[in-house]
C-alpha cells in the first residue's frame, strides 16, 4: 500500500516537472519577456540589469530550477497585461472556477451514473433507447452552444435567470463564495448546467456501455445460474464491477470539466481562471498562461492520484499482494 502510494506520488512529481518544463519554456522563450517588461524606451544598461534580475543570463537548468522553485512557492511573476502578480490574479479567481466546477461535477455524476445504469439494465426499453438517442445529441452539442441556447431561452426570452457574472458574493476569509446569496445561487444555475451537460452525457454513455460489458461476463451469468435476485445481481455484482473502469474515466471527465470551464466562463463572463486564461491567450500574457497551465496540471495530477487510490479501494486484485496471500492449493 505504502509502496503503491509512493510510486504514484513520484509519478505525479515527474508529470509536474514535465509540465513545469513546458511552462518554463513558455515563460523563458516565448514572446521575449524582457522587451515586453521594459516597454518602448529603454537603455542597454536597463536591459542588462533586467536580464540579470530575471536570471536570464544563467544556464538553462539553473533557470529551470529557479522557475520550479518559484512555482512551488506560488511565485509566477508579473502579468504583462494587468501588471499584477500572477499568483494574486489566479487566487482571486480560483473560488469562482472551483465553485462552478464543483456544481457541474456533482450534477454530471449525480445524473449521469444513475441514467447510465438504467440504460444498461434496460438496454432495449423505449426510455433507455430514447435517452441514448438524446445523449448522442448531448455529445454533439458543443459546450459554448449549450450556454448560448440556455441564455437565449432562459435569459433573453423568459428573463428568468442572469446571463453573465456571479451575482453577489460573500467573502469568507479570502474565499469569495456565491453559495450564500440568492443572486449568487441563481447565477450558478445556467453555467453549471452548461458545463455539466456534455460530461453528463459522456458519463451516462460510458456507464451504460461498461454495464453492458459487465452483464455479458461469465460471473454474472453464473450469478444468475445461482438464482440470485435480480436486485443483487444488477446493483451488487454488476454495478460494483462497472465502477472500476468508470472511476478512472470519471476522473478524466472531471479534468475535462476544469478545462471546459474556460469555455463556460467565457460564454457567461464568469470571473474565473478560465476567463482570465482566454484573455491572457488573446493578449499574449505569457506568465499568466504558464501559471494557469501549472495550476491546471496540478489539479489533474491530484485528481488522477485520488482516482488511483479509489481504484485501489474498489479492486481487491490491486489491494492484496498475490504472493503474500499464499496458500495456492496445489494438491
Amino acid at each position: 500500500m505504502i509502496a503503491f502510494v509512493i510510486r504514484r506520488l513520484l509519478q505525479a512529481v515527474l508529470v509536474m516537472l514535465a509540465v513545469g518544463f513546458v511552462g518554463f519554456s513558455l515563460f523563458a522563450y516565448v514572446g521575449d519577456p524582457v522587451s515586453i517588461m521594459l516597454g518602448q524606451d529603454y537603455t542597454q544598461e536597463a536591459r542588462q540589469r533586467l536580464i540579470q534580475d530575471l536570471g536570464l543570463d544563467q544556464p538553462f537548468f539553473i533557470q529551470y530550477a529557479r522557475f520550479i522553485a518559484g512555482a512551488a512557492q506560488g511565485e509566477f511573476g508579473i502579468s504583462y497585461r494587468l501588471a499584477r502578480p500572477v499568483a494574486e490574479l489566479l487566487l482571486e479567481r480560483l473560488p469562482a472556477t472551483l465553485e462552478l466546477s464543483l456544481c457541474a461535477a456533482v450534477l454530471a455524476l449525480a445524473a449521469g451514473v444513475p441514467l447510465g445504469v438504467y440504460c444498461g439494465l434496460n438496454r432495449d426499453g423505449w426510455l433507455a433507447r430514447l435517452l441514448l438517442s438524446v445523449s448522442l445529441i448531448g455529445v454533439s452539442l458543443p459546450t459554448f452552444l449549450i450556454g448560448i441556447l440556455l441564455i437565449l431561452f432562459f435569459s433573453v426570452i423568459l428573463g428568468w435567470l442572469p446571463s453573465f457574472g456571479r451575482g453577489d458574493v460573500v467573502q469568507l476569509g479570502g474565499w469569495s463564495t456565491g453559495f450564500l446569496t440568492p443572486t449568487g445561487l441563481r447565477a450558478l444555475i445556467l453555467p453549471s448546467i452548461t458545463l455539466a451537460l456534455f460530461q453528463l452525457t459522456l458519463i451516462m454513455r460510458l456507464v451504460r456501455s461498461e454495464m453492458l460489458e459487465v452483464l455479458r461476463t461469465d460471473y454474472i451469468k453464473f450469478a444468475r445460474a445461482r438464482g440470485l435476485r435480480n436486485r443483487a445481481i444488477n446493483f451488487g455484482h454488476a454495478l460494483k464491477n462497472t465502477l472500476v473502469p468508470v472511476i478512472t474515466i470519471t476522473g478524466l471527465q472531471l479534468g475535462g470539466i476544469i478545462a471546459f470551464a474556460i469555455v463556460t466562463e467565457t460564454v457567461f463572463q464568469w470571473p474565473g481562471m478560465g476567463f482570465l486564461f482566454i484573455q491572457s491567450v488573446q493578449a499574449a500574457d505569457v506568465p499568466v498562461m504558464a501559471a494557469y497551465l501549472m495550476l491546471i496540471a496540478f489539479f489533474f495530477v491530484l485528481i488522477n492520484l485520488v482516482v488511483d487510490l479509489l481504484y485501489y479501494l474498489v479492486d481487491p486484485r490491486l489491494r492484496i499482494d498475490k504472493g503474500a496471500a499464499g496458500g495456492h492449493g496445489g494438491h
Binding site: 460471473y219 445460474a225 440470485l228 486484485r317 498475490k322
Partner: protein, 328 residues
C-alpha cells in the same frame, strides 16, 4: 420404477437470424433419474451446451425454446416466469460453468458469494450461512477453509476456483447439477481430481448430474448413461457401458474409435472424415449421412427418429426393422 427427476421432451431451441431461423437443438428427448449421472457428448456446436442452458432457463437471447417441454420432478419449468424460474435456479438446479477463472466475481470474497447464495435460497441466519459455507469449502477440499473463506477469487488457483464453483452449485442442496464442460479449462493433471470430486459430492448430496463435455474419457469414468449429440439432435442414448463398448450409431463408433486405448493393439486411431455441418447447412435426411461410411438411400432422404435397441435408443436407419429385414 421411480419417477424421473428431469424429463426433456422434444426440446427445440431456435436462433432467429436475418438469414432465417437456425435450429440449434432439434427434437431432443431424454430423462435423468434422481442421483443419476447423464453424460452428454458431442463436438462443439452439437447443441449440448444449449440444451444445458435451456434446462437452467438461461438461453442467451435471441436464442429461445421454440418447442417441447422440460419437466423437473413432474413440474413443467420451460415456460415459467422469470421470478419463479429464479427460485428454482440454485435451489433445485445447480450449475457449473466451463471456466472457473471467470465464473467468480473478482470483487467479492468467495465467502460473500457463498453466503449470499445460501441466504437467497435457504431460511438461515447469516452466521448459519457462514458455517454452512465453511463446511462446503471443506467438503470440496479447500484447505484452511475458515481462513480462506475471506479471500478473493484471484487468490486461488484454477483448480481451487473450480472447487469453489462446485461448492457454490451445491449451496442449497439442489436435486440436479448441470455441469457444462467443468474441466475443459483446467490443467490435465487437475481434471481427474475435479471429476472425482464432483462425482463423490453429488453422490453424497444425492444430486443428479447432467455432465456436458466433449471428452469421452470423462464420460466413461463418471456417467451412468450417455447421450451422444450430433448437429442439434441426439444420435444415440443409453447406458454408458453399452454405448462405449457396443456403439450402435456409426457416429458413436467413430467417436469411440478416436479414443486411444491403453494396452490396445490397434495400430492407428480411427477418425471420422469431414466435419460436423454448420447449422445453416444441415443436410437432408440424417445429418450425419455425408460422413457416414454405412449411409444408404433412405439416410439421404428421411430423418431417422430414435429407435429402441435394448436399453439404448439410436437414431439410425440401420436399426429400422425394414432395413434389418432386408439385410437378412
Amino acid at each position: 420404477m421411480t419417477q424421473n427427476l428431469l424429463e426433456v421432451e422434444n426440446l427445440r431451441v431456435e436462433f432467429p437470424t436475418r438469414r432465417g431461423t437456425l435450429v440449434a437443438v432439434d427434437d431432443v428427448s431424454f430423462s435423468i433419474a434422481p442421483g443419476e449421472v447423464l453424460g452428454v457428448v458431442g463436438e462443439s456446436g452439437a447443441g449440448k451446451s444449449l440444451t444445458g442452458a435451456a434446462i437452467i432457463g438461461l438461453l442467451e437471447p435471441p436464442g429461445r425454446v421454440a418447442g417441447g417441454e422440460i419437466r423437473l420432478g413432474g413440474q413443467r419449468i420451460d415456460n415459467l416466469p422469470y421470478e419463479k424460474m429464479r427460485r428454482i435456479r440454485g435451489k433445485e438446479i445447480g450449475a457449473i460453468f466451463q471456466d472457473p477463472l471467470t465464473s467468480l466475481n473478482p470483487l467479492y470474497t468467495i465467502g460473500r458469494q457463498l453466503t449470499e447464495t445460501i441466504l437467497t435460497h435457504l431460511e438461515v441466519s447469516e452466521a448459519e450461512a457462514r458455517d454452512r459455507a465453511i463446511k462446503l469449502l471443506q467438503e470440496v477440499g479447500i484447505p484452511a477453509a475458515e481462513r480462506r473463506i475471506d479471500h478473493y477469487p484471484h487468490q486461488f488457483s484454477g483448480g481451487m476456483r473450480q472447487r469453489v464453483v462446485i461448492a457454490l452449485a451445491l449451496c442449497a442442496n439442489p436435486r440436479l447439477i448441470v455441469a457444462d464442460e467443468p474441466t475443459t479449462a483446467l490443467d490435465v493433471s487437475i481434471q481427474a481430481q475435479i471429476i472425482t470430486l464432483l462425482k463423490r459430492l453429488c453422490r453424497d448430496h444425492g444430486a443428479a448430474v447432467m455432465l456436458v463435455t466433449h471428452d469421452m474419457g470423462v464420460i466413461a469414468e463418471t456417467a451412468d448413461r450417455v447421450a451422444v449429440m450430433y448437429a442439434g439432435r441426439i444420435a444415440e442414448i443409453g447406458p454408458v457401458r453399452d454405448v462405449i463398448k457396443r456403439a450402435k450409431h456409426p457416429y458413436t463408433e467413430g467417436l469411440m474409435g478416436s479414443i486411444p486405448k491403453l494396452g490396445g493393439d490397434e495400430a492407428k486411431l480411427a477418425q471420422i472424415d469431414g466435419s460436423m455441418p454448420r447449422l445453416t447447412a444441415i443436410p437432408k435426411g440424417c445429418a450425419f449421412n455425408p460422413r457416414c461410411p454405412k449411409a444408404f438411400d433412405r439416410c439421404r432422404a428421411e430423418r431417422p427418429d430414435p429407435i429402441a435397441v435394448g436399453d439404448t435408443k439410436v437414431a439410425c436407419w440401420l436399426y429400422d426393422d425394414a432395413h434389418k429385414a432386408a439385410a437378412e
